[in-house]
């Protein structure tokens, strides 16, 4: 696997630096034009639309769904943009993105990877909603605006993120 950091761009800066500088300006433009970027709130707004259709009385009485509001708002369009951006970015690669990646050392089946991704998806969205934002809303936008919550959240994420990554490596390699 080649990482993007291995090669330098024409400007002499490594890709993470060039792309990071551009993303910094995109995030600033976003705050100038409409508001800070944020992704995870769209998940419960989607649940809200379903519950309002299936069980409208419960949905109207759930304070969280009332607080989060309708799916018809800017952040939902941001998510649509992410799908398009990912698609356009991938078209610039010579090789297709792998259908399934196995990010931990050692071997695992595709079924294990899917289970792992599902559980991980559950935890990231549950944790993000408890904290009030995710990597985009709290770490990128939060720290950009110098919100204390962003710094606290980032400290928590990297503490258990690094710990879990190292633990998975130990478990997978130790089992052989």
């Amino acid at each position: 696997m080649t990482t993007s950091a291995a090669t330098a761009t024409k400007s002499g800066l490594p890709p993470w630096a060039t792309l990071g500088i551009i993303f910094g300006f995109v995030g600033a433009a976003s705050i100038l034009l409409w508001g800070p970027i944020g992704v995870s709130g769209t998940y419960p707004r989607f649940i809200g639309e379903i519950l309002r259709a299936v069980t409208p009385t419960y949905a109207a009485e759930n304070p969280y769904l009332v607080k989060m509001g309708s799916l018809l708002r800017a952040e939902t369009f941001l998510l649509l943009g992410l799908v398009i951006g990912g698609f356009l970015g991938a078209r610039r690669d010579t090789a297709k993105a792998p259908k399934v990646e196995h990010p931990h050392p050692g071997t695992e089946t595709t079924a294990t990877r899917y289970t792992e991704a599902f559980l991980a998806g559950f935890l990231i969205v549950f944790g993000a909603r408890l904290a009030g934002g995710c990597t985009s809303g709290l770490i990128i936008s939060g720290m950009t605006q110098l919100s204390m919550a962003g710094f606290v959240f980032a400290a928590g994420v990297f503490a258990t993120g690094i710990g879990t990554a190292k633990l998975m490596q130990a478990v997978r390699l130790g089992g052989r």
Partner: protein, 178 residues
Amino acid sequence: MTNLFALLTGVAMGFLIQRVRASSPAVILQNLRLENLSIIKFMATTIAVGMITVYTLNLFIPNLLHFDIKPTYLVGVLLGGLIFGVGFGLGGYCPGTCVVGIGEGRRDAWFALFGGIVGALVFTLVYTVAIAPIVALLDFGKLTVQDALGVPAIVPALVIGILFLVVVKVLPTQIKKA
């Protein structure tokens, strides 16, 4: 107009995340095992450039920027971060990068998205009983670094921004050869 701006921001963000390989769970796990720091340095650069830019703009055009500071309810924010980190280290996806991954054609990204939707459902169902009490603990409201220190925002923006840029410049990107 706002929706169009948000859509275009999303396209740019998705493209940049894909190009830097942040939508690759393998690359995220290399970063979290501290073998390669490309994504951590990408994020720190983004934040540094962003904070210097918005607070410089705010000096010239005050009250025009759409700031939206999230509340610092200390227990919930930290606990949420710790839970998020376990998921991040297990799966290598964020709520946004899995959506980018779907655009790229990654099948495991769909499972992360489904997991996220179920996570949001469970969160909604237990909100009143389990979440609302946690969110009420040690709530400092919309607290910022400049409020806590009692200084103009441009000061911490420049200090933290330049500090981040120096750290990413000094730190090596490739720690361990893959």
